[in-house]
């Protein structure tokens, strides 16, 4: 248990003021670990094969010995997941421009390999795509639809919330759309602006019947997508678009599954739980480095006693249903929770998690649950860097929470 409390209620307030006049911006790649150098990414075959929770989907053996991996980025891993699925004849992949790869190249070459009848372009018609996919799935098909950007999912919101999520329930179990998976790129890209950088996962959180999954890396993307497609429930699979090319791992080439609805602890710790999913994982990793070894400009704002704090970093992975047990278990140990997400704060996923955690861990909490999120504004183009919670804002919240 950490002994310091209330060293400062706003440790970075003065820092922010002072730095507003700094002339030289940091280099674009930053001074610190980023996605390219992240220790979270499994860049060797040995580490890739030891991915926690990984279950091989082939029958021969459950052994990892002798398995091959290939270096892939996230979009290649998505494509790699779609190939074994398409070996099932009833599986169909469709969406806007996906026949020639889609805007992020996730479906490249699939039309040539599996036929244009099974991998095809649709009109620009999101509500129609969702409805059409639901119809197919009710017939027992594996329908894998792409909504080109998560920002465009709103016309399909009715179909997903009212039809896909409810069909099993309202038909008394006679019909289901378990074969339905909606893939969609999500989160910010740095310059996406209002309609290409949103994170709409929270809007689906109340739609019992749906699952919402967000991977952080190529291995995660492949394993979770394979699980999402084969899960007998409709799944919205949101792929952090900035990671498509920047996140690179050794990815097992065999067919494997990672569990839905389960969080993963990336860095174990005892003093504070840092919970996030998707892109901000890497900002959180950077923040942990800043905390342990603050650069000169930040050092005065990170009390020395806090620098040895053990922060537990958790990737939630599934937003619906979310792994409340794992989060509550962690918070019960650490007594502190900081939640990071890109969507705005009001009624975001963090609000739901904070409410549940305060209920489950009320007497264990040593500090209020802190949310580091986008602002409650649109994601405006020129302000995007300010909108997205970055490593410094996360560090600020960690220090504030640790020293509460």
């Amino acid at each position: 248990m950490l002994a310091y409390r209330r060293l400062s209620s706003r440790p970075f307030a003065s820092f922010i003021r002072r730095n507003s006049s700094v002339a030289e911006p940091p280099p674009p790649e930053g001074h610190l670990p980023s996605v390219a150098t992240s220790q979270i990414l499994r860049s060797t075959k040995e580490r890739a094969l030891r991915t926690p929770g990984l279950v091989w989907n082939d029958e021969e053996n459950s052994n990892s010995v002798g398995r091959e991996c290939r270096k892939m980025n996230l979009y290649q891993a998505v494509r790699d997941a779609l190939r074994p699925v398409l070996c099932d004849d009833t599986a169909v992949v469709f969406g806007e421009d996906i026949a020639f790869g889609g805007v992020f190249r996730c479906t490249m070459g699939l039309a040539e390999e599996f036929g244009r009848e099974r991998v095809f372009n649709t009109p620009l018609t999101e509500q129609g795509i969702a409805g059409f996919a639901i119809g197919m799935a009710t017939m027992g098909h594996t329908a894998i639809a792409e909504i080109q950007f998560a920002d465009y999912i709103f016309p399909a919101f009715d179909q997903l919330v009212n039809e896909a999520a409810k069909i099993r329930y309202r038909s008394g179990g006679q019909f289901n759309v378990g074969g339905l998976t909606i893939r969609t790129p999500t989160m910010s890209v740095g310059h996406g602006g209002l309609y290409h950088s949103q994170s709409p996962e929270g809007f689906f959180m109340g739609a019992a019947g749906l699952k919402v999954v967000i991977p952080r890396s190529p291995i995660q993307a492949k394993g979770l997508l394979l699980s999402a497609i084969r899960d007998p429930n409709p799944v919205i699979f949101m792929e952090p678009k900035i990671l498509y090319r920047s996140a690179i791992e050794q990815v097992p080439i065999d067919d494997f599954a990672l569990p839905l609805g389960r969080a993963e602890t990336l860095v174990p710790g005892a003093d504070l739980t840092l919970l996030t999913w998707g892109t901000p994982i890497y900002h959180c990793e950077t923040a942990l480095h800043l905390l342990a070894d603050p650069p000169a400009g930040l050092a005065s704002h990170v009390p020395a006693a806090l620098r040895t704090a053990k922060v537990e970093l958790i990737d939630l992975r599934s937003v619906l249903p979310w792994d409340a047990d794992a989060v509550a278990e962690s918070v019960a140990r650490t007594g502190r929770l900081v939640i990071v997400h890109e969507a705005g704060m009001t009624a975001g996923v963090g609000a739901e998690i904070a409410a549940e955690v305060q209920k489950r861990c009320f007497l264990r909490l040593a500090a209020p649950v802190k949310r580091v999120t986008g602002w409650d504004t649109p994601v405006a183009l020129q302000y995007e860097k300010f909108y997205i919670p970055d490593a410094v804002r996360i560090l600020d919240s960690i220090v504030e929470t640790l020293s509460y």
């Binding site: 009833t90 169909v92 009848e117 649709t122 009109p123 018609t125 509500q127 129609g128 969702a130 409805g131 059409f132 996919a133 639901i134 119809g135 197919m136 799935a137 009710t138 017939m139 027992g140 098909h141 329908a143 009715d158 179909q159 009212n162 039809e163 069909i167 099993r168 329930y169 309202r170 038909s171 008394g172 179990g173 006679q174 019909f175 289901n176 378990g178 019992a208 019947g209 699952k211 899960d231 007998p232 429930n233 839905l260 609805g261 249903p321 409340a324 047990d325």
Partner: protein, 397 residues
């Protein structure tokens, strides 16, 4: 506005000059056959159909005595069922939403008469007759309305949520079933089934954007889907003319041909559906629009008396002059297929069947508390728990 008046008149003139007629009893028997147990040919009124980018169906239709008597019995039973639902609702035994199809029986019975069990049907909220005709039971429908275990969705759905293996449900969201229907048709085509999907919606839903999205995909990919617009002239409380810039719904598919049909004459209705099925399944010409011009006698839902946006006289006139059941009754009597007495017996049988089903449904228990939590996710893949109102009510899977 004054200057617009002449324009309006002129725009409507062509429609007045030639419009569909919706009487239920204008089909003629040109020559009376000697043996009525054999199939015989009748002639539909020349204004039973209007076509858009396709030919009108042949007006000569071959029917049999058994067919006509069967349809009569089915329409009468469906009306009795809806009347029973009406009474149960007014007795406060049915709660929630309830939309009745009294007056529109020729569409559901005519549709079912011309398709096969392997075809697929999906419709909107006015779904009770389709559910029964597609393999369900009256007890199952009434049980669902009452919210009982005997209901076809085990009492968890209610009026708009009734399904059978070939009937993809009533759907409560206006227009949402139409692209779903296109997807079902795609699966049929993909699986190389010689079947079609009939995606139904009303004149109100026809203005939903996703209906046009579905048209486009269906034509683009030549899907075996028949878009069936049940034009009962009012989308909730707004007449077609006040809601739609183009009230000729059969022409709204752009490149999809369409057929407007007298939806009050069961023979015309059945004949049109057979034509549509041939078009999509046998001739593989892609999608088709069918517009049934019909009429609902009751309000949009149980909370709508149905008289604030139309006159009582209008409803009365439709009931007395264009009722599909009375129309068929006249054919049967005039053509000597059955006596008034025999038809009365069919009426009684229908009523008895419905009454018995209602009693059975009423006797069925309410859903078990535990079923509140089932069928949200596939068994075994659900989250660890679902919240109830308080700690004791949290359900753990």
């Amino acid at each position: 506005m004054a200057s617009l008046a002449p324009l309006r008149v002129s725009r409507r003139l062509p429609q007045l000059a030639r419009s569909i007629q919706t009487s239920a009893d204008t089909t003629q028997l040109p020559e009376k056959p000697s043996d009525l147990s054999q199939p015989f040919t009748v002639k539909l009124h020349e204004d039973s159909f209007r076509a858009y980018q396709c030919d009108v169906p042949d007006l000569d239709v071959t029917v049999t005595k058994d067919q006509l008597l069967g349809w009569y019995r089915q329409m009468q039973t469906m009306r009795r069922m809806e009347m029973a639902a009406d009474a149960l609702y007014k007795a406060k035994l049915i709660r929630g939403f309830c939309h009745l199809a009294i007056g529109q029986e020729a569409v559901s019975v005519g549709l079912e008469a011309a398709i096969t069990p392997d075809d697929r049907v999906i419709t909107a909220y006015r779904c009770h007759p389709f559910a029964v005709l597609r393999g369900g039971t009256i007890k199952g429908v009434i049980g669902e309305l009452l919210g009982r275990q005997a209901g076809m969705s085990h009492g968890k759905g209610g009026s708009m949520h009734i399904f059978t293996p070939s009937f993809f449900g009533g759907n409560g969201i206006v227009g949402a079933q139409v692209p779903v229907g296109a997807g079902i048709a795609f699966a049929q085509k993909y699986l190389e089934k010689e079947t079609a999907t009939f995606a139904l919606y009303g004149d109100g839903a026809s203005n939903q954007g996703q209906v046009f999205e579905a048209y486009n995909m269906a034509k683009l990919w030549d899907l075996p889907v028949v878009f069936v617009c049940e034009n009962n002239k009012y989308g909730m409380g707004t007449s077609a003319e006040r809601s739609s810039s183009n009230t000729e719904y059969f022409t709204r598919g752009d490149k999809i041909p369409g057929l407007q049909v007298n939806g009050m004459d069961i023979i015309a209705a059945q004949h049109a559906v057979a034509y549509a099925r041939r078009w999509t399944v046998e001739q593989k010409k892609g999608p088709l629009l069918l517009e049934f011009v019909t009429y609902r006698y009751g309000g949009h839902s149980m909370s709508d008396p149905g008289t604030t946006y139309r006159t009582r006289e209008e409803v009365q006139r439709m009931r007395s002059t264009q009722d599909p059941i009375r129309g068929l009754q006249r054919y049967i009597e005039e053509w000597g297929l059955a006596s008034e007495q025999e038809l009365k017996q069919l009426d009684k049988d229908a009523k008895a069947e419905v009454d018995a089903a209602v009693e059975e449904a009423k006797a069925s228990p309410e859903p078990l508390i535990k079923d509140l939590w089932t069928d949200i996710y596939y068994k075994g893949t659900a989250p660890p728990y679902m919240r109830g109102r308080e700690r004791e009510e949290v359900h753990y899977y």
